[in-house]
Amino acid sequence: MIPTHWFLILSAILFTIGVCGVLTRRNGITIFMCIELMVNAVNLTFVAYARQFHQIHGLLFVFFVMAIAAAEAAVGLAIFISLFHHRHTIDVDEANLMRW
């Protein structure tokens, strides 16, 4: 049986990669994919702890996280489509209308 902290370390690595992507990329959709990656890393932590402590609640939280990630993907992609229609780019640095 594989120890739980190995999964936690894998999850930490994936989360770090996601953070790195959000900080360094400018393409909106890539940033969005990195956010999905971070969400998945957290999901892995939930499942690992659920097995560790024999609790079903961790798995149920993963369900809710998946549902919310789906909602987030739909709305976020709609925002990017709308942005593309207006600006013909999805570079997040160009979306500066609200900046003071």
């Binding site: 739980t4 994936l14 770090t16 790195c20 994919m33 097995r51 798995l59 489509i81 570079d91």
Partner: protein
Amino acid sequence: MISFIIFFFFAAVAVIFAAMVVLHRNPVVGALSLVASFFALAVMYVLLEAPFLAALQVIVYAGAIMVLFLFVIMLLNLQHQAEPHTRPVQQFLGYTTSSAFGLALIYYLAKYGVTKLPDGPFVSDARTIGIGMFQAYIFPFEMVSILLLAAIVGALLLSGRTGVAKNEETS
């Protein structure tokens, strides 16, 4: 023994493809790499004795969300649009900050994380999950369904053609 090999192989797959998402400049390649990474995570769920969640991971993430991403990338025809390079300062700060964050995360996990093995097998079939969801978590479940409805309406409103036309007229 075989499960350790599977773990290391798919952990490597997950990490390498996740790195591809960040490093590759073409968003289509990024999306497909992310699919591979999610698939490796589904294998992790099987190793964690949650096959139901693994199937759900593949259906929802790899099957639905990532197809949506791919569809939008192809719809906007982004693969020909060269992404401008990030400023070197931002790149340097991003890499150092995130690696420092990751090292701290791994350090604290190694220091305070649980190291003993769980005792006994863990039952997580569809029946247990369903009972848990519809008894203890019925209220969050309903909240999530309302949230999804709101997301549908919001997405339609944002990407609808009439809204765009109206905004262009006013601006």
